[in-house]
Symmetry: C2
Subunit: 380 residues, 2 copies
Amino acid sequence: MSTIEFNITQRSEKSRARLGVLRTPHGEIETPALVTVATRGTVRAVTLEQAITAGSQLLICNTYHLHLRPGEEVVGEAGGLHKFIGWDRPLMTDSGGFQVFSLGFGRDYNLGKIGPTDASGQVKAGQRPKMLKIDDAGVRFTSFIDGRELFIGPEESMRIQSLLGADIAFAFDECTPPNADREYTESSVAQTHRWADRCLEARDPKQALYGIVQGGKFVDLRRESAQFIAGRLFDGFGIGGEFGEDKDTMSEMLRTVVDELPENRPRHLLGIGHPDDIELIIREGVDTFDCTVPTQYARHGTAFTSAGRVSISASSNLRRHGPLDPTCDCPTCITNSLSYICHLYRAKETAAAILLTVHNLHYFNRLVEDVRDRIRSGSI
Amino acid sequence: MSTIEFNITQRSEKSRARLGVLRTPHGEIETPALVTVATRGTVRAVTLEQAITAGSQLLICNTYHLHLRPGEEVVGEAGGLHKFIGWDRPLMTDSGGFQVFSLGFGRDYNLGKIGPTDASGQVKAGQRPKMLKIDDAGVRFTSFIDGRELFIGPEESMRIQSLLGADIAFAFDECTPPNADREYTESSVAQTHRWADRCLEARDPKQALYGIVQGGKFVDLRRESAQFIAGRLFDGFGIGGEFGEDKDTMSEMLRTVVDELPENRPRHLLGIGHPDDIELIIREGVDTFDCTVPTQYARHGTAFTSAGRVSISASSNLRRHGPLDPTCDCPTCITNSLSYICHLYRAKETAAAILLTVHNLHYFNRLVEDVRDRIRSGSI
């Protein structure tokens, strides 16, 4: 029996979207939901208290980062991640698979999931990233903190995630780089599938475990991967990797994957959720998704508002004495003017990052809430 | 008639300490009180909301810094500093005089009010700092932001502070460097006195104005300055500058000054308030004081606790799963473990600075509250 319970409360007649409630040992999540990124056990630039005031329902922390620092033994000693970080609500841990990508080919080719890349070459079968060694056992890499040789494989990821003790863990996968060719992607997907089975063997039955679908930009590999993972006894499903260049391709890819997944189990889209994408991915049947956009953009001075993006540092903002977003009821917009936040940002005061992070998280959470309302009323 | 009202509710029989209530147009302050430093219109590393949860009753902002950025016109346009920063409680503005010191001889001699200095030379009469020009009109200096030539004199400081519109403004003074010789200090005190009279001429009657006593480390100059400033129609009194090397000297200096000041008007000690000094300065009759120690130490990873100072980054703290200070009821200590804060600090997460700043401010505010309690019960 699963430690989580997922109830679909309403299905859209216009799309694959659905409303649901995901019950975990640490409380319920209304889905669709944004999962707030808390890589190292905190949401960057704010306290967890502040993330709650911004409407965050659940967090996703990172196994790779917490393994490096402070180490899962410290977290285990504290009684698990919930106790360690002081968060008594639902919690996920990512498996560390994405770091295999970002420290590997991601670094070699200067690739990122956000922003422009200057990649030109293709990653071909047999090619190996420079910073780490991937083989069937797992991934061997060097700690960027102290140069230690480290290793994470499926069994190790399960062991670490069990000590972290989040409500939902993810299977260890290889997240293929966007520029991987077909042959590379095929063998990488096969690797991810072998690891998925070994994760199921090694899993902690006290946690829910999501399997991860890969397959890069190849529709048939996506379908094959979804079929494979769907056939295993996972409590839910993650969808990882890149989905191609444009929104139509992303929709098609998601549809291909979602069509293969069991209807009654939750689906999580890993690392995607620009404001423009949110409605689209929910229409394709995604229940939860995590994304660094709200927090990362906040720290770099970009606010998302009902009137579009606002670049905070512009000196013209110093004369705007009303709120950043007059339609917003977040703690930032209730108390502070755009002028003041602009001043704080230009004066390099931490408060600017705090106020913008709270606002952006609230904005994203409200956006998803609005989509939930529109599913409820039958317009999505 | 003054815009503030100061009522002494109890006088100690054992010392010069007194309990009081300082009424301002934006609410009351229980004195003795720590004034939280908000140089650029915010408390560094936190939001003003968080400063309130840490027990801050009133803030002191800096005229010099706000003049440079965002400029008093912007603040005036917003309806004054209270509205601009979203703080509906008592507020002070420092006059900018301390910056004359820190940008002048402070920079030339690498002097600071906190921490070690490597100053050797003495500042002598006739000598002038390199970074700015002081004469009877005021101080001419270069903006560190954009190289603009700027000027602040007593009239200009009053004009800026009027636009900022804090409840309490300070007269523009020259804060003498700790290594000033007698002759230099004499002429500097005379300058401060001439400026004090010009501030009274130029003041905004809608604000309270505190005159500032200087005199460096020379007891007779301190007395002379206190007599001069006490004889003017200021609503309260600031005591500025350095007080010598040790606590006995500081006590003697404060006693000399306080003896000359009218009993029924409030006294503010500028820029002093190490935990070790707090009881001492209150015993000598200080009502309010501001100090960057709680916030500055927090950002550099030092917490003040009932068991002494804690250096957060020590890796041994990673295994301390209880609160930073088990006797503390601040928001940080209620929710977070020392281990977690240590992890956040080592991972360079902003949340570490936030949590430590809230704790340190709360610790200092509680320390002062405790002194108030001990005055009330007759033990101080």
